[in-house]
């Protein structure tokens, strides 16, 4: 795993959930199996300290269920201030899967035919959830990781995460002026970052796709070169055939290089960018929730002022409650935002370092293979 979540979080790597502790680094989503018409993911985790292993099959619906459950508990003050670890988009149905569709649905994660990248994203999601101070304590995690039967498929209540509609009202709320400068700035910068990171990710997708296409074209070129090679009698034709085969070998090297570079781009840089991008969207959601609360608060205040004496006490209660809630949310949000900023930097650091190392390695390897071929070719040249 390229981006090590447990290194990033300063929370304890093993989280205590009243008797059920999981070792964050042991959480794995190893593969995606196509069963009937859907994808099943194999999720593994190890308990701490008992070292008991769990392996369960989970469908995407189960992940969705988990996400919604995390939002449910009302007992936790300021839950809405949490920036929830982002879940990847739902994988689309199989039959008509073209790369275009996959990319449209899943973004960068759709570039990998083998679902390897997608699994890695799911894995990171689980690790992030489990290592979160608050979320990691949720009881549902136990059933998610241990129950054989997938919990999903239950009629999930639409959690607070989901936008119900793109009503004009919502947009107005989104732009609602903030009372706090910290949040004002954060909302502005988040808004630009969301756009920009998304754009960057999309452009990376274009780059990776083209690299994949070049690898394919190299393969095609190499095959075509082989076509021209047949049993030859006269020396010039023989030489020509030999040369064609040599060139074909070189083209295969080029092809492998492109494949490797594209894979690194996808699974390291891409995954990191994708995570950061989705996290920023998640932050956006959180900020929106807070803004909604702010609007509600201001509304309640107005109502209080306008209230008739009989209702005043009631209104006062309501206003006080929403004020308290708003404060909680803001407090939590502040912490979460600061954490997110740190996480962003760390994700980039790990991801860029690892990516650079891998690309460097690939370049060195290719260099050395090419150099061998050149030497051999020149020797061949002089003996002819």
């Amino acid at each position: 795993m390229v981006v090590s979540v447990s290194e990033m979080m300063d929370d304890a790597p093993e989280v205590s959930v009243s008797g059920f502790n999981l070792s964050v680094s042991s959480i794995k989503v190893t593969e995606a199996i196509k069963k009937e018409n859907s994808l099943v993911f194999v999720v593994g985790a190890q308990e701490f300290p008992s070292k008991k292993q769990h392996f369960v099959d989970r469908k995407f619906e189960d992940f969705e269920w988990l996400q919604q459950c995390l939002l449910m508990p009302d007992g936790i003050p300021g839950l809405q201030g949490i920036i929830f670890p982002p879940l990847p988009a739902k994988p689309c149905a199989f039959q008509s899967n073209t790369q275009e569709k996959m990319i449209k649905q899943l973004g960068l994660l759709g570039l990998d035919d083998d679902w390897k990248t997608y699994c890695m994203a799911l894995e990171m999601y689980l690790q992030l959830v489990v290592s979160h101070t608050t979320l990691g304590k949720n009881q549902v995690l136990r059933s998610f990781f241990t129950q054989t039967q997938g919990p999903g498929g239950q009629a999930g209540r639409k959690g607070i995460l989901n936008r119900l509609s793109q009503a004009l009202e919502e947009i107005k709320k989104e732009n609602h002026q903030d009372v706090d400068e910290f949040f004002r700035n954060e909302r502005a910068s988040n808004s630009s970052l969301v756009r920009l990171t998304k754009a960057t990710t999309e452009r990376l997708i274009a780059v990776v796709r083209t690299q994949q296409n070049i690898a394919l074209a190299c393969g095609h070129f190499s095959t075509t070169l082989h076509l021209g090679v047949g049993p030859d009698e006269d020396p010039a034709a023989k030489t020509f055939s030999k040369l064609s085969l040599k060139l074909s070998e070189i083209i295969i090297i080029v092809k492998k290089n492109f494949e490797c570079v594209a894979e690194n781009n996808l699974n390291i840089l891409g995954l990191g960018l994708d995570l950061v991008s989705r996290y920023e969207e998640s932050e956006k959601e959180m900020l929106f929730r807070r803004t909604c609360k702010l609007v509600e608060l201001e509304q309640n205040s107005k109502n209080l002022e306008k209230a008739k004496p009989a209702k005043k006490a009631n209104m006062e209660e309501i206003k006080k409650a929403s004020e308290k809630e708003f404060r909680h949310i803001s407090d939590i949000a502040r912490l979460e935002i600061q954490k997110l900023h740190r996480v962003r930097v760390e994700v980039f650091q790990q991801c860029l370092t690892s990516w650079c190392e891998k690309q460097l390695h690939a370049a060195r390897e290719t260099s050395s293979i090419l150099s061998q071929h050149l030497r051999a070719f020149k020797q061949l040249d002089s003996t002819e």
Binding site: L196, F221, T224, F240, L247, I250, V254, Q349, Q359, D381
Partner: protein, 488 residues
Amino acid sequence: PGASMAASSQRGLAPSAGAADHGQHPGAPGDDSDEGEDIFTYAVSSTLVLLRVHSHFFTVLNFFIFSDSTVEVSLDSPRNNRRNFTSLPPASAVATSKNGREALEWEEDEDKFELNIGVTNPEKVGLSLTVAVFAQTTLPIFKNRMFTVKRRFSDFLGLYQKLSLKHSQNGYIVPPPPEKSILGMTKVKVGKEDQSSAEFVERRRAALERYLQRLVSYPYILQDPDLQEFLEKDELPRAVSTQALSGPGFKKMINRATDAVNKITVKKDKSHAWFEEKLLEMDNEDQQLKRLHAAVDSLVMHRKELSANTGVFAKSLALLGSLEDSTALSRALVQLAEVEDRMEQLQQEQATRDFYTFAELLADYIRLLAAVRGCFDQRVKAWQRWQDSQNILQKKRENEARLLWSSKPDKLQQAKDEIAEWEARVNHYGKDFERISATVRKEVLRFEREKARDYKAHIIKYLESLLQSQQQVVKYWEAFLPEAKSIA
């Protein structure tokens, strides 16, 4: 003496056998006679008198000798120190050759030959493209050591016409010039100053340069005064009727050649079989070249796409970096953007240079192959002439026989005269056919060797530049790594 040699070889007649053997140097003054006897003449004649080579190398001062020239020698020549000779293809071909000679061909060291040609300064003059052709040479056939002339595109076409007229009928390959491109030229004419028209102009220039360089590597062309005039003369009269020299014209040649060869059904001996096989091989080769060309073209296109996409991605990264609060991260992102950009430029340059020129090389060979198949066509024509003359001779003989039984003694004498005349003609055309067959065969082999050589040189160059750019990429990543690690 030099000039007359050139002229005589063009006419395809032998210099007298005597000249060949008497140590005559047809070359220029300044001959290096210390080198020992360099005697040979390039002889193509009906008597097929060949030469004996004594020396242990050819000096380039003898102006018949050029790099990659092919020379025929008799079997009894001393074989010491010859380089790179290749043997004939089917041995059966030798048996049927009337003189029982075996052609051994070999090539010169390239560095003994000094004629460097370049095509530069493409510019629009009036409605056409003009280029400057410069040459630098030590060959004595030229008046100066270095000279430059201005030529129009139509001049190149005109040159081809003249050369083709003279040499094709003898079975020689005459390399075809770059194709006319209506689309490309229109853009240039209209004065469109964009990327694609600039590319077109550069491609044209490069194609013309390759064309000339190939021309001068063919010995019978280098000797040709039309070529020399093309290179040296200040002003050339405008070439006319060059419309026919377009792509489709060559394609027609191919079809004719294939059909025509099938007509030679009578002489089904082994030497003819060689030609049939070769023609078939060339059909396959033509298809293969076209397939390769398409594959390379598609690679070039993808490469261009990658370049554009990476550029856009790099810009995004730079923007992201500028928004970032953390200074280390910001710096890293901005630097990454730069690295991506520079790496991409590097790889794009390399890929363009090589794949693109590879595509051009393939295109050249597709056209050249068509010219080679044109040679086959010429051979068939020669055969036809020979057949026709034989038929006429037959008729004349029948006529004579009839006259013998009639009472027209004066007509008889005339008939006898005509028979004699046609016998000579049959003989002549027969020898012509042999000669042209031999030339075509030689030309084909030379072409194949040339192709293998070009191909090999190109592959090595490609490999070298791939390696170089990959090593550069390593450097870029090595430079970026500490920057990435220091993000905190």
